[in-house]
């Protein structure tokens, strides 16, 4: 499987580099060498035990190495309006940042840069140079290395010191192609000291072909900065979504990441948050609703490198039919990370006998003065609660729905953008009712 991509790189590396920028190219060969060495991950690897990618990686995908423009104007076809959200709106089509057309984006505070990673790498090379690959190139991971070799563009955001973005940024990733297609986008997000931003990432698919998205997002949250990252996936069943989110937190910074998978094919979210300063606050949560043959693996890792940080992790899954869920909660507390407080919880409901959930806490604690807790449960809906509701005249199906909704509710409650919270409540309810949970007015996702 690797071979065709190794050959492709060897033959096409000139084109890849020509259609990218010097900064992005600077680590490209090294990433390729690492990929050549590691290959694609298989379930034989401990970190990929719950993600079987063999079938998805065997497809012959097209890549857009020569950066041929995709004939679609998302600003025209995409009317996904989370009502009342008032966001700045940006698109990445496959793995290309789409030139900004939205009037709403004009009132960005001074100094904020949002745009194409590849373009900004040309206009502000020193800025990109300082951050690009700093978190990703140190990882010994085949998918991340592959991204480093092939990524030519992505979303870029820079928020200068003490600048607060009052409105959330909405980034919509659209997969659009007439043939089976692979995209390797690389996002880079930088918050300087005291900055504040919220990013909502939505993943959608447009066409009825096989898609593979192998995305790496690097986030740098400086001292006293506050960052919220919401990822909402609503893609079709032929999509393989491999997403790596790497976050670096400095002293007294605050991060909330909420990863919600409502509809998909095969998804692997790799999330790693490094607490590299004291007094950091981290809340990592997520939710999965999966049925049919959906497969979702959240591989999470929180690394306490410095003392006096708080982290909390909460993931909930509702699995039906033959859906498969995986959760790994890796918690590392370094030797001098004293007074660490870390909580981890993964709770799961299986609605069918054939659905499968595999969950694994992985605690490596080298400090002695810490408060760490973890818990995982796999169960069914509470029958006595269901009967109690029925005895009040509530139908069995409605009772099930209320219970499932209640189960996922605390993850939704952690959303800090009210309009988004309301919208996700609605989408979750629709999803649990078995209706298509696409956003109203969204004409492109199917």
């Amino acid at each position: 499987m690797e071979k065709q991509y190794i050959d492709l790189y060897k033959q096409q590396q000139e084109s890849i580099k020509k259609h990218s920028s010097a900064v992005l190219n600077s680590s490209r060969d090294a990433s390729f060498a690492l990929f050549e060495n590691l290959g694609f991950p298989t379930t034989a690897l401990e970190n990929y035990k719950y993600s079987d990618l063999k079938e998805a990686l065997s497809i012959d995908y097209g890549l857009n190495i020569n950066r041929i423009p995709i004939p679609v104007n998302p600003y025209e076809v995409f009317t996904c309006d989370v009502p009342g959200i008032h966001s700045y709106l940006y698109f990445v089509v496959n793995d290309a940042f789409y030139p900004v057309k939205d009037a709403r984006n004009k009132d960005l505070p001074e100094g904020v840069i949002i745009g194409s990673l590849n373009e900004v790498a040309k206009t502000h090379p020193e800025l990109i140079q300082e951050y690009y690959g700093k978190l990703s190139t140190t990882k010994n991971d085949g998918l991340i290395a592959f991204n480093g070799a092939f990524a030519q563009d992505g979303f870029f955001m820079y928020v200068p010191k003490n600048v607060v973005l009052e409105k959330p940024i909405q980034l919509i990733n659209i997969m659009r192609s007439d043939v089976d297609f692979m995209a390797n986008s690389h996002n880079l997000i930088i918050l300087e000291e005291g900055a504040k931003a919220q990013l909502l990432v939505c993943d959608h698919t447009m066409d009825d072909v096989r898609f593979l998205s192998n995305r790496v997002t690097e986030v740098f949250v400086a001292k006293n900065a506050t960052y919220e990252h919401y990822k909402l996936e609503n893609s079709h069943s032929k999509t393989t979504n491999l997403s790596t989110l790497l976050i670096d937190q400095q002293t007294s910074s605050n991060v909330l990441a909420n990863v919600i998978t409502l509809h998909n094919g095969v998804t692997r979210n790799m999330i790693e948050i490094d607490l590299n300063g004291e007094h950091c606050e981290t809340l990592l949560c997520g939710m999965v609703i999966a049925d049919k043959k959906q497969q979702v693996d959240n591989f999470t890792s929180i690394i306490h490198s410095k003392p006096n940080c708080n982290s909390k992790e909460l993931f909930k899954y509702v699995l039906d039919d033959v859906a498969k869920g995986g959760f790994t909660g890796r918690l590392m507390v370094a030797k001098d990370a004293q007074k660490t407080a870390a909580q981890q919880s993964n709770r799961n409901i299986l609605l069918s006998k054939t659905a499968k959930m595999r969950t694994k806490p992985q605690l490596e604690i080298y400090a002695d003065d810490v408060k760490c807790s973890h818990g995982a449960t796999i169960g069914q809906l509470d029958e006595t609660a269901k009967f109690y509701m029925q005895s009040r005249g509530i139908s069995e199906s409605e009772a099930r729905l209320l219970l499932m909704f209640a189960f996922t509710n605390d993850v939704i409650e952690h959303i800090q953008i009210d309009a988004l919270k309301d919208r996700i409540k609605l989408l979750v309810e629709k999803r649990l009712r078995g209706e298509l949970s696409k956003c109203e007015g969204c004409v492109i996702c199917q």
């Binding site: 509470d382 609660a385 005895s391 005249g393 139908s395 409605e398 209640a406």
Partner: protein, 251 residues
């Protein structure tokens, strides 16, 4: 309205009800007393349609309809209400959402339109006052973290909201302090009409001072073995069950 004939019921293969007969007419209050483990809650569970219990023999009709054929939700919509001996906690489901869903499902069953938000909230307020329920409780998840007494009060609140034709109160008095007992009993009395009826399961004569029964039944070993007026409860309070057990077991 309710007719139970020769009811036999099992749980986990063990026979608990062994030929129980009972007739309830509109306007009546029936008290059921009896020793622990006699089968009182089993009867309540069977009436409300709990699938854990298997009816092996006998019949139950409610307004001429075969109750045993009905789903639990339809029994409720037909007007049967069970105040649980042990009300269930449902974390994450708010009382408001729970009650609104229940009321509207009842209305849908009767081909009525859903209640408007204002009408619903007004009804909530009225009924809360009836059982003097704390506003804070109504804003929380169903029974979650409620004290024993608060749970019982919440059962009567739900009963008031759903306005049943037949209410079955399974030890609603246990766990209530003296004031709460009076409030709950008053609530039940205020809901009493000529066209509805109650079955009150209790161990204590005390409750029957407030909710005055037309009949007192003794349930023992899966059957109703004695029926009398309200003075039977006084007699039981005084003498216990031994004399009845002797009467029955001696048969």
């Amino acid at each position: 309205m309710l007719e139970i004939k020769n009811l036999h019921a099992n749980i986990n293969g063990k026979e608990i009800l062994k030929g129980l007969d009972l007739v309830v007419r509109p306007g009546e209050v029936h008290a059921i007393m009896g020793p622990n483990g006699a089968g009182k809650s089993t009867l309540a569970s069977v009436l409300s349609g709990n699938q854990a219990y298997e009816v092996t023999k006998g019949e139950i009709t409610f307004y001429e309809k075969d109750l045993l054929e009905m789903s639990p939700e339809n029994r409720s919509r037909e007007g049967i209400f069970l105040s649980f001996q042990y009300p269930v906690e449902i974390p994450g489901v708010s009382m408001v959402n729970f009650m609104r869903t229940a009321i509207n499902e009842h209305r849908k069953y009767k081909n009525m339109e859903a209640l408007s938000a204002t009408d619903f909230l007004r009804t909530m307020r009225e009924k809360k006052e009836l059982v003097e329920m704390d506003n804070k409780l109504a804003n929380r998840s169903v029974n979650e973290g409620f004290s024993g007494g608060e749970k019982k009060r919440n059962e009567i609140f739900q009963m008031a909201m759903l306005d049943p034709r037949l209410s079955i109160l399974d030890e609603t008095d246990s766990g209530l302090d003296i004031d709460a007992l009076r409030i709950v009993a008053n609530g039940v009395n205020k809901l009493k009409r000529a066209d509805n009826a109650s079955i009150v399961i209790t161990h204590y004569q005390r409750l029957l001072d407030y909710i005055v029964p037309d009949f007192v039944h003794v349930l023992y070993n899966g059957r109703i073995v004695k029926t009398g007026g309200k003075e039977l409860a006084l007699e039981l309070e005084e003498k216990g069950y031994d004399w009845i057990k002797k009467e029955v077991d001696g048969e």
